[in-house]
């Protein structure tokens, strides 16, 4: 054996681990890789039987068209939908966090009844279809159907419960001594939240905001019901429309999918630690 420090049993163990990891990584990465390949293959290659797997010459023209760098005269759905998605997800995250931080503080430090947290979580767990019709008629009455503002209001309610929960669990584990010192100095609650709590809780708040943003970025059901054209349609709805239409160019559908996946994938990779901590803190710490 080439490596004398490795016993036979250890070697077998490593071979098994790496084999399993290889299968796992292929399972998660190959479909995504294929989506990317489809987006840069020619339409002929994609409809060839037997299928042509590797494109002869990668074709990035679809990305150029979607990003508005070149135009073929057809309507560009990507950029307006992207703008709507950024506005809607960003706006809803801001509103939700602004309401969630004081609520979480009340639960963690001001003895708000614990039942309130459960009531909030329960609203999040009721299926959206239960709220759908009254929200639809309500938005119609106040003229907010097919507007980003309408979606922001709805989404903020969708994001709030989880944001409150995550923020509360994270404030719970912070020491109270700093806040007590500030209180003795005569600082009021708002001042304590703003200048004592926010700075030390920032990593946790960033994680909560990030998860909220991703949830809103992903939302489809309400966006499908409450928007009707590119004035407010978000990316998920634009993609669903596009995939359902009689598109012959599967590469174009793939390219939009790749572009829509890039922001969340980048966020997920760079903020891996805090996202995973955020996702599991609720379950592990209770």
């Amino acid at each position: 054996m080439s490596n004398p420090s490795l016993s036979r049993g250890e070697l077998v163990r490593y071979v098994l681990i790496y084999a399993a990891v290889a299968v796992l990584v292929l399972f998660t990465c190959v479909p995504i890789l294929w989506l990317v390949i489809m987006s840069i293959s020619s339409a002929q290659e994609l409809t060839a039987v037997p299928l042509h797997w590797i494109p002869k010459s990668p074709d990035f023209s679809r990305y150029a068209r979607l990003l508005g760098l070149t135009s073929d005269g057809s309507e560009n759905i990507f950029l307006p939908a992207l703008r709507n998605s950024v506005i809607t997800a960003g706006g809803a995250t801001l509103v939700a966090m602004a309401a969630a931080i004081p609520a979480a503080y009340a639960m963690s430090r001001r003895n708000a009844p614990r039942a309130m947290l459960f009531v909030m979580l329960a609203t999040f767990m009721v299926p959206p279809i239960t709220y759908a019709l009254p929200l639809y008629t309500g938005l119609g009455k106040i003229g907010l159907l097919n507007t980003s503002a309408g979606l922001i209001i709805i989404y903020s309610a969708l994001l709030l419960p989880f944001a409150v929960w995550l923020t509360k669990t994270n404030i719970d584990i912070l020491p109270v001594s700093l806040e007590e010192a500030a209180m003795l100095d005569g600082a009021g609650t708002l001042r304590i939240m703003w200048s004592v709590l926010l700075p030390i809780a920032r990593p946790a708040l960033v994680a909560a905001a990030m998860l909220s943003f991703l949830t809103a970025w992903d939302e489809f059901f309400y966006a499908l019901l409450f928007t009707s054209d590119l004035r407010a349609k978000t990316l998920p709805v634009a993609i669903a429309d596009f995939a359902a239409g009689r598109v012959t160019d599967y590469g174009m559908v793939s390219a939009i999918g790749v572009l829509a996946a890039i922001p969340p994938v980048i966020l997920a990779i760079f903020f891996q630690k805090s996202l995973i901590a955020g996702l599991s803190s609720g379950s592990v710490k209770g």
Partner: protein, 300 residues
């Protein structure tokens, strides 16, 4: 001692309510009010129209109709099949992957990043991606299976009522098992290693170590993840909408889709609302399960 009151025995100060007011106001308008309106609609024969949605009181007629509607029952059963299969597969795969990634090996960080990818891909992109892969004429799945000789001829995976639901479940599992894996992985790191040592000294094999040390150590957080995933899977809509639109021959029509069509294709607000209330009640059972699990965990 009379002086040492626990937190919960103290009175809630007015300030706490003021701090919670914005959050509660948003939730009241966007969730409580619609919930009550839906309940109200469910007792009327309201139709959705441009002129406004209103109708006459019809008592429990809509519920009686829901109780006898075979289509609704089939959709409910399909949703339960979807929820149970998806969540069971996600749990088994999630725990297995967590056990694997909890081992010491070079490149573990890369493997962890690789499993975060499916979770990060947006729902709709996930559905669209699998729809393209499972395309009957040009899809990569057919091509790969026939070129390797596993499959004799191309199949219409999403167009065949006997395979469509399984394919949608597959797409859901691919996207969501990482979530269970993260939770299980975080929980595994809280299991004290001395317990494993002790079990090993007692002569416990790998299976008994898993059964009597690992599993009890991660079961509580895992349960929370399972209930949360079930609540989410029960409302499945996005991937169905993109992958199959409920077809073929209704074989993937889940309750959310069924209610959606009753509302927005048949414009029947009364019947749709009654379905929606029933769906909400079924979810409430799962939500109480969730609260029970959390409470029990806190009591420990």
């Amino acid at each position: 001692m009379a002086l040492s009151m626990t937190r919960d025995e103290r009175k809630t100060p007015l300030e706490a309510w003021v701090l919670m007011a914005p959050a509660l106001a948003i939730l009241a308008v966007i969730t409580f009010y619609p919930l009550l309106r839906t309940l109200y609609f469910s007792f009327t024969d309201a139709q959705i129209s441009a002129a406004g949605t209103s109708g006459n009181f019809v008592g429990f007629d809509n519920y009686a109709y829901a109780a006898s509607d075979a289509g609704f029952h089939a959709a409910l059963i399909r949703t339960i099949v979807f929820t149970v299969s998806s969540v069971a597969l996600e749990t088994v795969m999630g725990v297995a992957v967590a056990l694997l990634l909890n081992q010491e090996f070079k490149g573990r960080a890369i493997a962890r990043t690789a499993i975060i990818l499916p979770w990060a891909v947006p729902n709709i992109v996930n559905a669209m991606m699998w729809r393209l892969i499972m395309n009957p004429e040009y899809g990569a799945l057919n091509a790969a299976l026939t070129q390797t000789g596993i499959l004799g001829a191309y199949r219409s995976w999403l167009g065949d009522p006997s395979t469509a639901l399984a394919m949608v479940i597959f797409a859901d599992v691919w996207k969501n098992f990482p979530l269970v894996a993260f939770v299980a992985l975080a929980a595994l790191q809280t299991v004290p290693s001395e317990l494993y040592e002790a079990a090993r000294i007692d002569g416990a094999g790998p299976w008994s170590r898993f059964r009597f040390v690992t599993l009890p150590g991660i079961v509580a957080p895992l349960l929370v993840a399972i209930v949360l995933r079930s609540i989410e899977a029960f409302r499945v809509f996005d991937i169905i909408y993109v992958m199959t639109r409920g077809g073929p021959i209704d074989s993937t029509k889940t309750v959310s889709f069924y209610v959606y069509q009753t509302y927005f294709s048949y414009l029947d607000a009364g019947t749709g609302a009654a379905y929606a209330v029933i769906v909400a009640l079924l979810s409430a059972v799962m939500i109480s399960g969730y609260i029970l699990v959390i409470r029990r965990q806190e009591a420990k």
